[in-house]
C-alpha cells in the first residue's frame, strides 16, 4: 500500500563532476543518497552553499544524469528513459520553480503558463483556459498581458508557480523559490506555494537556505558530507 503513494524514490544515488584542473580528481557532490517522497507530502533539503542541494534536485528531476544509483519517478526508472519519454514526464508530472523565475522573455504572463500546458499536449484553447484559471489562483489576473520585464520579482515568481502547477503535476521541484525576493514577497510566495501544494495534494521537493521556510515541510533533510540526514 505504501508503495503506491511513492512519487519519487532515490536509492544510493551518486554524482560527481569532472575536475576543473587537468589530471585532477573528480569532485564528488552526492554519494549514496537515498530518500523517498510520497504523494501530498513535502520535503525540504537544506545545507550550506555548495553542498549539492541544487544538484540533488536536478538529478532527481532528470535534468542532470547521476553517476550511479536508482531514481524512480512514479515507478519509472528515470536514467532509463529516452529524451522523449523524459520530456513527456517532465511536462505532465513535474513542475519547476527556480530562484530566478526564468520566464520566457518574449511572452506574456498568460502565454508563459499557456505554453507549458501546450507542451503537455493541451489544445491552445484548453491551455489558455487552464492558464487563465491558474493565474487567477495566484492573483495575477490583472497582469495577464504583461511580459517578464514588466513584472516585479514577486509577480514573476507567482507566474512561475502558476506555470509549475498548470499541468497538475504530481511533484513540484522548487529550488530557492524565494531566494531573490524581499521579505514581504518571500512570505507571500511561501504561503501561496504551500496552500496550493496542500490544496492539490502535490508532492514538493524544496531546496532552501531558509530554515523557517523549510520547517513548513513534512520532512527536513540536511545535505552534509555528500549525503542527506533528517534534520531534527
Amino acid at each position: 500500500m505504501m508503495k503506491s503513494t511513492e512519487v519519487l524514490t532515490l536509492e544510493q544515488v551518486s554524482k560527481s563532476f569532472p575536475a576543473t584542473l587537468r589530471g585532477g580528481e573528480p569532485i564528488q557532490i552526492l554519494e549514496g543518497v537515498s530518500l523517498t517522497l510520497n504523494r501530498a507530502t513535502s520535503i525540504a533539503i537544506t545545507g550550506r552553499s555548495g553542498s549539492g542541494k541544487s544538484t540533488l534536485l536536478q538529478v532527481s528531476a532528470g535534468l542532470l544524469s547521476a553517476d550511479s544509483g536508482s531514481i524512480r519517478f512514479e515507478g519509472k526508472e528515470i536514467p532509463c528513459l529516452d529524451d522523449e519519454h523524459l520530456s513527456r514526464l517532465r511536462s505532465r508530472s513535474m513542475g519547476f520553480i527556480f530562484q530566478s523565475s526564468l520566464l520566457l522573455d518574449d511572452f506574456t504572463a498568460l502565454e508563459n503558463v499557456q505554453i507549458s500546458a501546450m507542451i503537455a499536449g493541451y489544445s491552445e484553447r484548453d491551455a489558455s483556459r487552464k492558464a487563465l484559471a491558474m493565474l487567477e489562483l495566484v492573483g495575477m489576473q490583472d497582469r495577464l498581458g504583461h511580459t517578464s520585464d514588466q513584472l516585479s520579482g514577486g509577480e514573476r515568481q507567482r507566474v512561475a508557480i502558476a506555470r509549475a502547477l498548470v499541468n497538475e503535476p504530481s511533484l513540484i521541484f522548487a529550488d530557492e523559490p524565494t531566494g531573490s525576493l524581499d521579505e514581504r514577497n518571500a512570505a507571500l510566495v511561501e504561503d501561496l506555494l504551500f496552500s496550493l501544494v496542500a490544496e492539490r495534494e502535490v508532492a514538493l521537493m524544496l531546496i532552501t537556505h531558509n530554515l523557517a521556510f523549510a520547517s513548513r515541510c513534512n520532512t527536513v533533510y540536511r545535505l552534509h558530507n555528500r549525503n542527506v540526514e533528517v534534520r531534527s
Binding site: 526564468l102 520566457l104 505554453i115 507549458s116
Partner: protein, 389 residues
C-alpha cells in the same frame, strides 16, 4: 507544430527580442538578393533574346541551306519545296558576297553585299528610310552608312571573281544607291548592302546560292525534316553562331552563379545568427526543455525560426521582383537612351520558384548546422550559461 510556429515567429520578430533587428536585416537582405538576381537575369535574358532575335531575323535566319549551285531557278524551286513543309513559315533564296564599297567622296566600307528575295520576318523588320528597296540594278545602303554614301550616289563595289589565270581576281562594278534602310541590328546595318538576287548574280554569277528559312517550330526538328528532303548542308542558327551562342549561355550561367554567391553570403549570416540567437536564449531553452520540450523540438523551433525569416524575405523578394517588372515599362525610355535597345522584361516563374526553394532549403540547412552542436549540451549546462549578446 502550432506551438513551435508561434514560438519561432515570436523569437524571430518579437518586439522584446533583441535579435529582431538581425531577423529583419536577414529578411531584407534575402529580399534584395532575390530581387537583384531576378532583375539581372531578366535584363540579361532580355538582352540575349534581343540579340538572338536580331541574329535570327537578319544575320543567319532560323536555318540556312547551302546549295553549292548558282542556278537561280533551281534554287527557287528548292525554296518552294522547303516552304511546303508544314513547320516552315518562309523559305527564300539569298546570297552574300564580301565587298569593299567606295563612295563618291572616296571613303570606303568593308562589308558584304546581300542579294535576297526578302520574305517573312526579314522583310517585315526591314525599314525603308528613303527610296524603294530591291529595285533591279540598284543597291540599298543602311542609314548608319549614309555619312559616307547617300541616296542617288553611285557606289563603286570591289569584289573577288573567278579568274582565268589566277583563282580569283578583283572585279569592280558601279551601282546606283536606290534606297536607304535601317533595322534594329547596328552590326547588320553597318556591314550590309542590299539588293535583289538577280542584281547580285548580274555582278557575280558564279557564287553558290543559299536558302534562308524562318520557322516558329524547334529548329532542330525542322532541320531534320529539311535534310530528309535531301538538303544535307542545312545548319541551324545556333550552329552557325555556335561561339556567340555558347559565350552568351556561359555568360548567363556565370552571372547566375555570381549572384547566387550573394545568397550564400546571406545564408552564412543566417547560420551565424541562428547560432547567436540560440546562444543568447540558452537559459530559456533550458527552461523550455525543463518544462517538457524535447531536444528535437527545440532544434525544430530554431530551424523553423530561420525558415520563417527566409520565407518572409523571399516572399518580399518575389513581390519586389514582380513589382519591378511591372513598373519597368515606365523606365524603359531611360534604358533605351543608355543602351539603345527596347527590352521586354519577363520573369521565368520556374526559375523564380527554384530560387525560392533553394533559399528556403539552404536556410533550413544553415540553421540546422548552426544549432545542432549547441543542443548537445545538458539542460543544466544551458541553465548556467552566460548570455551572449
Amino acid at each position: 507544430m502550432r506551438l513551435l510556429l508561434r514560438l519561432a515567429t515570436r523569437y524571430a520578430f518579437s518586439r522584446q527580442n533583441r535579435h529582431r533587428g538581425t531577423s529583419v536585416r536577414i529578411s531584407l537582405g534575402l529580399a534584395l538578393c532575390l530581387f537583384a538576381i531576378v532583375a539581372v537575369l531578366s535584363f540579361m535574358q532580355a538582352l540575349q533574346r534581343n540579340q538572338f532575335e536580331d541574329i535570327r531575323t537578319f544575320e543567319s535566319f532560323d536555318l540556312q541551306i547551302d546549295l553549292e549551285s548558282n542556278d537561280y531557278i533551281a534554287a527557287n524551286e528548292a525554296a518552294t519545296l522547303i516552304e511546303g513543309l508544314g513547320s516552315v513559315q518562309h523559305a527564300f533564296v539569298y546570297v552574300d558576297i564580301p565587298v569593299i564599297a567606295q563612295g563618291t567622296d572616296g571613303s570606303t566600307i568593308a562589308g558584304r553585299l546581300r542579294g535576297i528575295d526578302g520574305e517573312g520576318r526579314f522583310l517585315s523588320n526591314l525599314n525603308s528610310y528613303r527610296g524603294f528597296l530591291f529595285q533591279e540594278g540598284q543597291i540599298a545602303v543602311s542609314y548608319s552608312n549614309t555619312r559616307s554614301i547617300d541616296m542617288g550616289e553611285t557606289l563603286t563595289l570591289t569584289f573577288l571573281k573567278k579568274g582565268k589565270q589566277a583563282t580569283v581576281v578583283p572585279s569592280r562594278k558601279e551601282l546606283e544607291v536606290g534606297a536607304v534602310y535601317y533595322t534594329t541590328s547596328y552590326d547588320f546595318d553597318h556591314s550590309t548592302f542590299l539588293c535583289d538576287v538577280e542584281t547580285l548574280l548580274a555582278l557575280q554569277g558564279d557564287v553558290p546560292l543559299k536558302i534562308g528559312v524562318f520557322t516558329t517550330h524547334d529548329v532542330k526538328e525542322v532541320k531534320a525534316e529539311i535534310m530528309q528532303l535531301g538538303f544535307t548542308n542545312t545548319s541551324t542558327w545556333m550552329e552557325i553562331n555556335a561561339s556567340l551562342y555558347g559565350a552568351m549561355e556561359l555568360e548567363q550561367k556565370m552571372m547566375a552563379l555570381m549572384l547566387f554567391l550573394m545568397v550564400l553570403v546571406i545564408l552564412v549570416h543566417i547560420r551565424n545568427s541562428s547560432r547567436r540567437l540560440l546562444l543568447a536564449k540558452q537559459t530559456e531553452i533550458a527552461m523550455l526543455r525543463a518544462i517538457g520540450l524535447t531536444k528535437a523540438k527545440v532544434q525544430a523551433l530554431f530551424v523553423l525560426q530561420a525558415v520563417v525569416v527566409a520565407v518572409i524575405g523571399s516572399l518580399v523578394g518575389v513581390v519586389l521582383s514582380y513589382a519591378g517588372i511591372a513598373i519597368y515599362p515606365t523606365l524603359s525610355s531611360y534604358v533605351y537612351r543608355s543602351m539603345g535597345v527596347h527590352l521586354e522584361l519577363e520573369i521565368r516563374s520556374l526559375e523564380l520558384l527554384v530560387l525560392f526553394i533553394v533559399i528556403v532549403v539552404f536556410s533550413l540547412i544553415a540553421s540546422f548546422h548552426g544549432t545542432h552542436k549547441i543542443l548537445k549540451a545538458d539542460i543544466m549546462e544551458m541553465f548556467t550559461h552566460d548570455e551572449v549578446n
